[in-house]
């Protein structure tokens, strides 16, 4: 650990800590109604009880690992995350091959692109009524909505990535004797990877937004469901605890994805790691 790292950390924490203090003071002094804005201490306490196991540890019925993870927060987080993963897998899994086809073949592009341009501006949220009509309630509509959220960023970036491959690489590969398939696999695909990965990153971000909305509507667990449920009981401390959890998980996902990007793109000029 060097000093400048500490310094950067200190600088980064300064404003959040100040805000927290001000918030606590405002609540302790009674300037705000705790129903409207609970104090940070109350939120932290609530967050802890939300995280902690609901029942006392009983070795007879379960292992201690299962017990540690038996809290409501953990369940909700895992439920939300698994929906993000499923929805993203479906959306990106369809967008990637379609984008590769549309990027490499001008005729496919000409036929399919107008439809995509028409559908793209429709926000995933606007699909909610239709998704419930089609899939009822439960995981299916949630996954559908998330898939739509992830689909377009991945599609658009994949097309752009394939179309922007510098023709000099293709010419070099051809003069080395590469077949069309080899050019696709060894040149076009890796050259398009930076675009595809940034599309995936945007797609995951969208998926994370959509999962919260979908859970408020279609299912009865997950972080989105939980904060809406808390509103019915006027548990503003639990709402804020849930929101903070959403923020932390989003941050963790983005960090993980950017780590992965840096590794996969270690050849890329724009990235110095």
């Amino acid at each position: 650990m060097n000093i400048s790292r500490f310094k950067a950390l200190g600088e980064g924490l300064l404003v959040p800590v100040a805000v927290l203090l001000l918030w606590q003071v405002a609540c302790s002094a009674g300037w705000v109604n705790p129903m409207v804005l609970p104090s940070p201490a109350a939120v932290a306490a609530r967050w802890w009880s939300y995280l902690a196991p609901l029942e006392a540890y009983d070795p007879a019925t379960e292992s201690w690992i299962a017990w540690i993870f038996s809290g409501e927060l953990i369940h909700d987080s895992l439920a939300s995350l698994s929906r993000v993963v499923m929805g993203f897998a479906v959306g990106a899994g369809l967008a990637l091959p379609l984008g590769l086809f549309m990027g490499t073949s001008d005729s496919i592009y000409r036929y399919v692109n107008p439809l995509m341009q028409l559908l793209r501006p429709i926000p995933p949220i606007a699909y909610i009524p239709l998704s419930i009509l089609w899939f009822g309630l439960g995981n299916a509509p949630a996954v559908f909505l998330i898939a739509i959220g992830a689909f377009f960023p991945v599609l658009m970036n994949t097309i752009a990535g394939v179309r922007h491959v510098d023709s000099i690489y293709i010419r070099a590969a051809r003069s080395l004797g590469a077949s069309r398939l080899t050019i696709f696999r060894r040149v076009i695909l890796p050259a398009a990877t930076p675009y595809i990965l940034s599309g995936a990153r945007i797609g995951i971000g969208t998926a994370f937004i959509v999962v919260i909305v979908a859970e408020m509507i279609a299912v009865n667990n997950g972080l989105g469901f939980r904060i809406l449920e808390a509103r019915e009981y006027f548990w503003s401390d639990k709402i804020i605890a849930g929101m903070l959890t959403i923020g932390l998980i989003g941050l963790a996902i983005d960090l993980a994805v950017s780590r992965l990007n840096n590794h996969l793109l270690r050849w890329h000029r724009g990235l110095e790691s």
Binding site: R171, A172, A173, R174, S175, R266, R269
Partner: protein, 285 residues
Amino acid sequence: MPIAAPLAASPAPSAAALADAARPHIVVSGVDKRFVIPGGEIVALKDIDLTINEGEFVCLLGPSGCGKSTLLNAIAGFSAPTTGTITVDGRAVKDPGPDRGMVFQEYALFPWMTVAQNIAFGLEIKGMSRAQIEPKVNELLAMLKLAEFRDRFPKDLSGGMRQRVAIARVLALDSPVMLMDEPFGALDALTRRSLQDELIRIWSATGKTIVFVTHSIEESIYLADRIVVLTYRPGTIKRDIKVELPRPRDSASTAFNELKRELSALVTAEQHRFEEVEVKGLTTD
């Protein structure tokens, strides 16, 4: 001492003059290349007849826009001539292929491959096994002084290093023809000279036929057996000059500079026409 034997402007006798023991390797005959542009046409090449013999080192020289790259790309098979034919080894050129290795000015290394992977790529395409590729790559890495950079990505190399990798990548194919489009244009003078020397060394060792595009008169005299000067719009062959200076060539020698003066006059005339067209916006077509 006959240092430079200017050949007649018409190509037929020039080919004959060289033909004693030499075998024609690249034959360009009656080639025109026209580009259709909005509101007209650019005649990039006109009536090009050029025979390059096996093992010859030929420089294509001329100012910017005179069609050097167009001619080289036609030989490489990237774009077909509008009229005329090009044969390499007696076979008509239709597509680019590994028998004509190409070194680009922009290096064109695959940035997602390491140095060693770039060099191995052409060999993998050929279908060689790992066990065959490995020693060949190592040999080329050693030959071009790249051994310690084998696992680096191109972004971490200097321009000179990158061009070395590009040359190694083409050498790996063992192609009898090497086409080079201003490969050293972006390098500083010292790096360029050392790569020129290396190229001459490789060329003498391997006996490849090399077509080398440059707009540097100095570079063409330093390297070539033969310098083909092109005219600007339409691109025709203005002069075909044989360089008979002994190697290694001394760019400070009188003979070198005499030739340089002669070529300067030829190229400058074309450069003026270039400026008239491109700068003052007149057209000659």
